[in-house]
Point group: none
Chain length 227, copies 4
DNA sequence: TATGAATGAGGCTTCATTCAT
DNA sequence: AATGAATGAAGCCTCATTCAT
């Protein structure tokens, strides 16, 4: 009995190790350049063993994608609930931003992975499932924007304007975080990210917006010069 | 003499045809899935001939990247000059936005291309050169933001905050434009893009900001055309 | 004691179930495309267990081959004995034909299996054993042909001419039965098979041969049923 | 000009060498057990070169199949024409038999190859093309049988009875030729094959058949004993 | 100068068999 | 005794780049 359980557990543990190794390698080397053999090597198992756990390389990637999206959804849900108790209407937006910016490299990786899988049309059903999860994320944010519009705090435009714009900003922030061109220029990344989040949270605010809280509010005359 | 010139010209013309064909194919099939053979076929020359013009496939891609970045810089420069004559201080930001959104698919492709080349560390020097061009773009925008800060129109933070945030928003807008998940949701793409641009142009505005002009609210005869 | 017997019996029963499952799968999917895992699944036992019964996949196949050949021999023997009592000299030939045509798909499968095993030279001794069984089949037929030659009913040629030719015809009939190219053309398979059998039974007949009895010409109440 | 021609010729020659090598290996080792690498090795070219000539391993096999079928059709056509001039009505059947028996190993190999390709449903369109060629073969034989029926020389049954039975016999003869079980028994292969052909040619003959011409017509009391 | 045939490293996946539990 | 996770050899195919003509 116990032995059987143990075995199952060891099996699951190995599955997780495969996923972890794949993610590590993906983060280290990029989507291209990671081979099944490499993953196996890192987990220190045979190449064939991978295929006891996953039917294809794509399935490994899809699992990573789903896991990430689910954890995002989970964190967002918690944040929304907490926020509603406290009456902080900007909390969901902040939670979303923070969730995605928690590990921008990972976030970005998963975008690329998803894009590739969609383009090559591997695993269309799993992609649908993924998008279903994502839509549940979207609706939480959408509700926030809609409520604020009703309260007259936001300019009235179609709600998806807000959500889309906000998404775009976060997406861009993720790219920015990763960008090697900006790396030299950005001295205070934390400050910048806060600034961006603040911009995001106040998109469309009609008036009397709280000025962005930044650790840099003291006027810094000359930032780094681009070119 | 003339013959030699003619020859050189034909050579250059073919080079351009190779670049055009590569871009077309890239746009049609995505970064992966374009082979040197396909390019040669479309130009209707031999595969070997390509290697008379470019030492590697990567070099072709780098050339496309550089050309794109330069055209961006060029357009931006013109816009800035025009704007300065007319005193429209938001013009550079708008020009930048419009330039990148003129063909979002292309813009996005080049991001991916660049990313790939950086990741695989093919052609590090060319990448440096590319970034130099980009920085010259950045400085034009930076100057705008700095001037507006000096005029007290923008909250005082390091100038790169503005530029980075703006860049992030545009970057995100490009992704948004392309995104298949959003495609169903976005009914009025033009309107949305204008909305985003407006958000971008007014990042950090201290007060009395003009509410975003949206085609949903005011009939704007001729907005910029995207895509 | 009883327990031990029971155990042995269960063991044998399972062995048979493995063989049955293998045959089913082989018939369903063809020689290639059947894996040990599939067999284990269908029997609902572990893959490893199969190897408690058979040292290799080839051994399973060899067992199927032997069993088939033995059942063929058995049926043939019975038919010959019955026929001799009744004085019907063509009975063995008919019995042989009917035996092999009883399930042409199976017969054909075993040809292929044997061929494969011979080609790859797996299990040479078992193949010898198989051929020994088959030769015992041959001798029954041979005796018939020899007797008929002695009776002046058949042209005198080496007896193996008859047997070989007859074998060839039956072999071909099996293939014909299975052939997809012929499927469209053959409207009356029963009639055709009877026709072929008749041709076979009368190979070498010296004179006054009974014209082939075909269901197209004479109403034969109960012919042998094929397949 | 000449150079270009030469090049094309060398290319074609190599293609033929690939086909020849593949056929050789197939004949030596059987369908399974021949790898693309082996073929390349034997031709002394790189693995990749094979794929300049053929899009897949299956295509190589299909080419062999088609070439064989075409040569069969060609030989048959010539034989039929010659026969018609000379009034020898059995000539097409003989030609067909002889064509297929010219190299029984090859004939058998191609059956197996075709079967495999059909089963795995690789290349369905090429298989159709193959069958089209084969049908042209069939009709030539069919016409012979029909004419003989009209002349009252053959029992009247559906024409496909004759063709199918004849096909089955030839098919079986091919297998017989190859069979290792029969190898020891068959002392005079030529004689046997002639015997079989004669049986085939006279299938359904109504009367006064020429006795089979065999080099063994002298009564050999005891052929080899089976078992 | 232009060509395209040739190359071969490298990637993904399958499956019979072994062996620790 | 039964299991099934693990193995790794082996197979097919792709494609950037080279080089002889």
């Amino acid at each position: 009995m116990d032995k059987a359980k143990e075995k199952v557990q060891r099996f699951r543990a190995r599955e997780q190790r495969i996923l972890d190794a794949a993610l590590e390698l993906l983060l280290e080397h990029g989507e291209e350049k990671v081979t099944v053999e490499q993953i196996a090597e890192r987990v220190d198992i045979g190449k064939g063993t991978i295929y006891k756990h996953f039917i294809s390389k794509t399935e490994i990637y899809m699992r990573l994608l789903m896991d990430y999206e689910r954890s995002l959804a989970e964190r967002l849900k918690v944040a929304v609930e907490n926020a509603e108790e406290k009456g902080d209407i900007t909390a969901p937006a902040r939670a979303y931003f923070e969730s995605r910016m928690a590990d921008p490299g990972k976030d970005r990786l998963f975008q690329r992975l998803e894009e590739k899988i969609i383009t090559l049309n591997l695993a269309p059903e799993m992609i649908s499932e993924l998008h279903a999860i994502r839509n549940s994320n979207a609706s939480a944010l959408n509700r926030v924007f809609e409520r604020r519009m009703e309260q007259g705090m936001l300019k009235k435009v179609p709600a998806y304007y807000y959500y889309s714009t906000y998404w775009a900003l976060v997406q861009g922030a993720v790219e920015l975080y990763h960008s090697k061109s900006f790396a030299d220029v950005i001295e205070d990344r934390e400050g910048l990210m806060e600034f961006i989040m603040d911009v995001g949270v106040h998109i469309g605010d009609i008036s009397s917006r709280k000025p962005p809280a930044s650790s840099h509010t003291t006027g810094q005359a000359a930032g780094p010069s681009f070119g």
